[in-house]
Symmetry: C2
Subunit: 447 residues, 2 copies
């Protein structure tokens, strides 16, 4: 199944409909387990029990696994140690780092065999998961699913390495970048026409906000792709952004579950009732009682840069943001204030905190072009976002937000909005207060 | 290049002749480094310096690497831990264990790139190193060398994973078994028509005997394939037996060198003078001053089994050794003594010590078939061997050996011989005395 081509052919419509949905008995299930879930043989055995539950219930199962937690970090550290004098070759990086998933895939296949099941491991190049040549951050182009589908039909469990594929022109191993295993799982679900893609994580679902900050946070039984995409891109680490994009394009019903619930305490996938556990990421049409606001997200790794007293000539924004874009530094929020005399302007924008030193360097070099200015920066800020697909049809969500924060004396430095999201930049000290306040304001508090 | 076919076509004649030999300036060199030589990044950097020396001298280099020492043991331990209830699937074992070499190949390629050289890593499946389907102990069938040769000609260093290949029918990763990287190196040398295959080890060559036992042991500048084969199969761990067999069949000039000599202190490969360092394993014709005896080997991991008072009926040997062969237990020496009355016989034979418990089990089960007997066993024995291609044309080597041991009061339990080797089984306590005595007897002592 050509992932790119399906997009063109289906126009992003619902492309995935497995036998389970029709028959109501047997489903094709892709299960994905991250690094902490396969950190040692005991945990891999726990994963195998989750798989066993599904197979025993008559479901056909493909499992996608990450590397043992810590393994990838060790491999990356070696790559860096081997390259003290230059940026390492991403092709060799991929060849080294991709071994982590190969180990866990083999070990899980062995564990399943030891429990009496038919299973085999698949590396990215064996399937093959064909990707672009952007080594280290490759994109999946095509996964032929016929071979694995035949084996699933014959009762074999497929154990697939996440995070990796092959660049077919040069026949070199490629990796998808950090968190890429979620994307592997969703893409495999597309290729296998799976009924559901179950992503097992260390949390038991997607919450209205971080339960560590707001004890009254509630698990969302369902969330739309669009909302999940905002959540993911705003720093909620439950699912990788690209996996949600892919799920949205191909309408893959994706579920977030906990791998630390005892395998026996969970029910096997039943397409008639997926909602009793975890969170289903799905089409908004499937969500009956849609709230105006679904969740509150926050992102700590923001930095604020303010450029003071620039001459307000035409093209000044381009002269500031052009060099940043060329340096691949993503600018998020932008606020511009013209001085009272109208001759100078202050420009405030936000970037990822990790990019701050590089951004200041870029601005310094561009000074000749921009003209004289002063610069202030701070990474002592957070971005708080209110997300809800209901905003499309409900006015007043933004003003409600600004009033609630103002009532608590929280100053807003910058604002950005999308159709289903409002984000504000505030001082880091107020992060928890802001999240708790907004959680209550939009009626999200549980019991 | 079809490794199997070349054997048929060439009739085992000298098939390898690279440009270096003709031109006398540039050689195609395969260099192999084992696990201790690539145990960490610092050692990998040392390996890279050995490679640099060869490339700087104008040689074309393909490097074969093992896994970091300890890595393979960890992977094998995980495989066993994942399979408590059954013998593990060798296909999955191979998929897991083959990752070790993939890591080191990538890291060495990165290190060479960091030093400013063109280099890339090759896995077994990328070349592809096609093997038989005997997973865990696969045999190399074919290595196409054209692609790598072209890249060597263009100045690129090939870094190749040892120990592994691909079984092309099922497209599954295969491994060659422990020590297989030596075999990978020799096979690659055949495929690349290399001038020399340099095996870097933790010793600086092949010695007349173990220098830890006999301080007067001398490094042999040359040794014939046949002698090296006997050495390898008798427990001298310098080269893996199969690699020597392959080198002999294809007449690959194979050199044993130390990787712990400072890379700068060694001269680059010069086909006109390979003998100044290490040991060359080569055709006996190339060895001008051939000694009658080249070396003394010993093997500690032997066990002796004596079956006492068996009825001496026709076919009794078959009834004893048949079941052992069926259980894949290799019997080495056999001695039979008929009792004075001629009705019963005692049968002594040797096996690998590790096989002793299994062998005793097999014999117990076969008792109904063999008839009543008593059994005694001991692993407190060693096998001492005198090896020399000169024995073919010199009589008296054996009687010299027996007399020398007898003079020291060393009792011989069993004897076996081949055209170029005499082995005796003696009590372990006498091992060192026997080796030292024979080393002097045959004039092997150095200064």
């Amino acid at each position: 199944m050509r992932i790119r081509d399906r997009l063109a052919a289906d126009g992003g419509g619902r492309g995935v409909a497995g036998p389970g949905e029709a028959a109501g008995v047997m489903a094709v299930v892709v299960m994905k387990f991250g690094g902490t879930s396969v950190a040692n043989i005991e945990r891999i055995r726990n994963v195998a029990k989750h798989v066993k539950r599904e197979v025993d219930a008559g479901n056909k199962v493909a499992v996608v696994v990450s590397a043992m937690s810590g393994a990838t970090n060790q491999l990356v550290a070696w790559v860096k140690e081997a390259s003290p004098n230059r940026i390492y070759d991403p092709l060799e990086y991929d060849a080294v780092v991709a071994t982590g998933e190969q180990v866990t895939a083999g070990l899980l296949a062995l564990t399943l065999q030891d429990m009496g099941y038919k299973a085999r491991s698949w590396t990215g190049w064996q399937i093959p998961v064909k990707t672009s040549a952007a080594h280290g951050a490759a994109r999946i182009l095509d996964i032929p699913g016929e071979d694995i589908t035949k084996r699933l039909d014959a009762g074999e469990i497929a154990v697939v390495t996440g995070f990796q594929g092959i660049e077919p022109t040069a026949n070199r191993i490629s990796t998808l970048g950090r968190g890429g295993s979620d994307t592997s799982a969703v893409a495999l679900a597309v290729a296998l026409k799976a009924d559901v893609c179950d992503i097992y994580t260390d949390v038991d679902g997607v919450y209205t906000t971080d339960p560590r900050i707001v004890p009254k946070a509630r698990r969302l039984p369902k969330i739309s792709y669009e909302e999940m995409l905002e959540m993911a891109s705003l720093g909620s680490k439950v699912l990788q952004t690209r996996s949600v994009e892919l799920a949205m394009v191909y309408r893959v019903r994706t579920r977030v579950l906990s791998s630390f619930v005892a395998p026996e305490a969970m029910r096997a996938v039943d397409m008639k009732n997926l909602e009793d556990i975890g969170t289903i990421v799905c089409d908004e049409d499937e969500i009956v009682e849609q709230q105006v606001v679904s969740g509150i997200a926050y992102a700590k790794d923001e930095a604020k840069v303010t450029i003071l007293k620039v001459d307000d000539k035409p093209g000044v924004a381009a002269r500031i943001f052009g060099p940043l874009a060329e340096a691949n530094i993503n600018v998020d929020m932008i606020v511009q204030n013209v001085t009272p005399d109208g001759k100078q302007t202050d420009m405030t924008f936000t970037i990822q905190a990790a990019e701050l030193p590089r951004a200041l360097e870029v601005l310094k070099k561009a000074k000749a072009d921009i003209g004289p200015f002063e610069v202030k920066s701070s990474d002592d800020v957070v971005k708080i976002s209110v997300i809800g697909i209901g905003m499309r049809s409900h006015a007043g969500v933004a003003s409600q937000m600004f009033k609630a924060l103002s009532d608590k004396g929280i100053n807003i430095h910058a604002i950005s909005t999308s159709e289903i999201k409002i984000s504000v930049l505030i001082d880091a000290a107020y992060a928890e207060l802001a999240v708790r306040t907004l959680h209550s304001t939009y009626g999200l508090d549980g019991d």
